[in-house]
Symmetry: D2
């Protein structure tokens, strides 16, 4: 079988190097080009020595390469880049998977408010498929353009999905208390992400409003069939990788929660419902595309607590992007993703 020709735009950040880690050993993929304006000419493995022996390509200037030769291009770029380049690629028959937020929000006005820029191609937003396979597998299969979900949104949506689809909770008062490792902030030189700032420290941030709020709200509304009320509080925790979402909702009736979750995800390769009473830990998915979920009903009351963990760089970014690619190209959905989590 012919390999899929893959291009990566923006390979110097954490989602970029994570895509490379996964794609370098993906049996059906041929890496064609990894672009970087700033590092053009530098061997990728000089910047990321972990890739020595696996990736021999240099970064290439985006102006010097024709990505039209690719079957699929991943954008691992800051918000606002993919929307400038996607149409030209689609026109050449190249499929696009954007790991940033450019195509995630259907309501353009909402997107422009939260991301502070004018959208370059609103029509492509309506074409784009939100790449959460557990929700949209059928549409992903035929898609030209994928909006790969954010990290928090993946963990939160997978946690609330069985409850909202089954209609067993009060959708007006949902709480998502989420904790993220520092790699979620990207490989950007910022004081608040320094080891001496984020290490041995824990804090909430963005309580007044975080960009992932409208993305999550949109997704939950889709499951519920109507708008939901969500309080979303993100926290920064001294992990490198990992997101832990702790979700709270009020039950509106009797339901066997464990059975509900197990049934919903029975056929999902990358969502693992833990046995009753267990608590997932972030390291149990470190380096893997797995989401692990546990559902609790403390003291048998009417508050349900869902615990959902992912590796923010894998199921929350690059791994889910590869999963989407696998679906789009009719490969085994877990191809290249058969990675045992690294513990300890």
């Amino acid at each position: 079988m012919q390999k899929i020709k893959v291009g990566i735009v923006g390979g110097t950040g954490y989602t970029g190097v994570e895509l490379l880690r996964l794609l370098a050993v993906h049996p059906q993929v041929e890496l064609v080009a990894i672009t970087s304006r700033g590092e053009a000419g530098m061997p990728v493995a000089d910047m990321f020595p972990s890739l020595r022996g696996y990736v021999s390509l240099p970064f290439v200037d985006p102006a010097q390469v024709d990505l039209g030769q690719c079957d699929v291009v991943f954008f691992a770029t800051p918000n606002g880049v993919a929307m400038q380049q996607t149409r030209a690629l689609l026109d050449k028959g190249v499929r696009v998977i954007d790991l940033a937020a450019d195509f995630r929000i259907q309501d353009i006005a909402v997107w422009e408010k939260w991301y502070g820029m004018t959208h370059a191609c609103p029509d492509l937003v309506s074409e784009a498929v939100y790449g959460l396979p557990e929700q949209n597998r059928a549409q992903i299969r035929g898609a030209r353009l994928i909006a790969n979900p954010g990290c928090y949104p993946t963990a939160v949506q997978l946690g609330f999905m069985p409850l909202l689809e089954a209609g067993v909770i009060d959708s007006a008062y949902l709480i998502a208390d989420t904790k993220s490792g520092v790699s979620g902030a990207g490989r950007k030189a910022e004081v608040h992400s320094l080891f001496a700032e984020a290490g041995d420290n824990f804090k909430a941030y963005g309580v007044a409003g975080h960009r992932h709020l409208p993305e999550i709200s949109q997704g939950l509304a889709r499951m519920h069939g109507d708008a939901v009320g969500l309080t979303f509080v993100p926290h920064l925790t001294p992990l490198i990788r990992g997101i832990h979402a702790t979700l709270y909702a009020r039950l509106t009736g009797q339901v066997d929660l464990q059975a509900l979750f197990e049934a919903r995800y029975a056929d999902e390769r990358f969502v693992d419902v833990l046995p009753k009473g267990m608590h997932p830990e972030t390291r149990s998915v470190r380096g893997s595309n797995q989401c692990r979920i546990a559902v609790h009903q403390p003291q048998g009351g009417d508050t349900v607590v869902v615990l959902s963990v992912i590796d923010n760089l894998v199921k929350g970014a690059a791994g889910q992007a590869v999963q989407n690619m696998n679906i789009m190209f009719d490969l085994d959905e877990s191809s290249g993703l058969n990675v045992v989590p690294l513990l300890p």
Copy 2:
């Protein structure tokens, strides 16, 4: 002025060494004895070299020392030890501050259920004063016996107190999503507290029920004047010190939350209400007896979010114990506690 003669029972754990850190330079304290059955004879500073030059005493066998000579004895022991020895000390006129849970829960049946033992002196429980100065300063002043609050309970109660006292939230649905550093588990050789287990990892635990739940519920009920409904989910985060409590409740009416909190804690030396819009971080109280609190009302909705941080070993244990001692002995409440947090 004559110094207060202090004894410490159980000086080899983290609350013990923290008491020593604070008391060794407390201007009105004379350390008389630090007991340890297992380490008797060993200089304290051999076990904790951080105390070299500050503490010259050796650990002494409890059987070899008369704690009746002390003005006050701190119990930094496992649960169930203080209740065996307190009456004898009180009878000799020694005041007692228990950093464990023996005297925290007024309902003996509840205590016995959660702590799995028969209580040795229920009558002393009813005499004991719960040592949360911001709530019970007057009673602490005259007390012989102090039940020093737990770490989670301190952070959670201080966060909910203004809201419950003012009666502005629905007390039936309170949520406390709390995160603790690993020192909260004590200096015990347990696999789950190893660096290679708890490091670079995040998890919830005890969702079905944690010993601090009845203590918090009792305290919140006292503020509310009636029982409250509480969902309490603790998490372990890869910090050494620090607790971050994120509290959620539904407002029952219009209220200026910032003003409410600032007024409630205006005279409290150790509770710092942050300016509107800020988020406290655990390192901002590292090594100090401070609690820092911020109150938010995301998107102007009817859910209030309180962020409350303490150092679990100081305001959550040894520091609050010293604060209680200062009150009991009519010292300046901040004597020996004037420690600037260590940042970074």
Copy 3:
């Protein structure tokens, strides 16, 4: 091709779970049994949820399983266990790879002094092959019994090997300043390995003498052809995985160090000599069987500095054991070890 039947004795420690991580997806391996006296009956994936979906076996009591059916048995046990069981396995035609120290030291008196026990089978020690493939590949190929090297010894020996084989340093004054992550201490409940003890802390230990000293000295002597003088100082650093060895020696003549190292390791799949001037970092090998080495000659003087990093659980333990198995069974040496390091 028929798969190799593999047994693991002692699967509850870090080298055990690491063997499982690698062997669970090794294309030519069938896991037959994982023994544990203490956890018999418990599914392996209940103890290590990272293995859910990959390992369905339960731990089995060693008394309840016939390991004679295996082609090879790995001992991931404390020192002193393998030497009790190896002869019976060898007699049944089972090959043995011991990840502990039982067969590493040829001088039995030295072994007994450092490990504090009487050796059960000195004759097997002389048969055992020291499983450092870069040194002993030919003997490993035909071996029945492999003494898998220790973690420090692997990093130190690979760093000194080119220099000693070429005879370009003063072998009487070798210095190995080594730093290890905490997982090197194993999954044992010990106070000094707690997160709150080993976290945010750095210290040397065992300066007066460490068990890996005689193992390293023996290996270096083999390279040099005579005894060497070695000062070995191990340190504990707040990493989970990783060893960094910084080696110092005095050059006895002019030599192109970079060329020497590159030539020595040109054909070695798992030793990567970095370009001149670079510094390897432990995370560049995290989760992989790679050793990365850089050689420096500061200020052009006559002191050579070698920097050598490995993942202590992979090239320093389980990965090297799998590499040895691959060689013993004439598989591709990198089979099952084609794992891209996890960065960040």
Copy 4:
């Protein structure tokens, strides 16, 4: 007694906030001004909430304040700033303590080579006293201008000092293998200092040459009375605070090392020689001005190993600066420095 009026130039970095932590509760100090060009007008405690309640001053623009009113000014600025402003201050009778490197190297050509700039006031360099009290206490007492030592240089010089002064080692082959926490890199937004880069990672850097090399060489030469040969290899370790220096040298004769070190430091308040056989750990000095040292002679051979730990921000920067101020102003040398290390 009248308080000493103190100004701080450059208060937004880690040495700045550390000076503030110590000076805010120093009994003989009055903080007059903390300058920052970028943050002028902002309350210091808004940037560093740990100082809330202790420092009420705002940052002030250097152009808006007359530092001539101060008794002493600390420069906690990047290299090259203090040398521009020192003469004017000295002319007004203000004493100056520079925490950067401007006045540390007596050989101007060497300084200009390593620091890449032309020195603004070579004459002041020759006047400046190198502020290592254990070496230069007498000169510090009368000094107008102090060059506060670097962090590595402090730990290394205190470790080698007894050996070099006594002339018992081969000074031609000294090795300093040093490990630093990440706060040593300062509060600068740089990728390599990010939590996701420096966390769970260990590496050497600057093996070819580090700015602290000439400073250390100069200091060791002063002790030895002649030039020494030094190999200096710094490493970055995932700590926030702390330096661990492991020093190696060859003994030239018989000497009681323990007695030598104890005698040398018998009268030094801030150098603690540990009992024979112990290993200092960085956390045992966390937050304090202490240096702890142990001396070993492994296997009784002729290689001496010295272990020396400091908190890089205290004895390696701000604490030593305060110690120098205390000496200059005839205060108790430990005034304001009586801080028990924070453990755990």
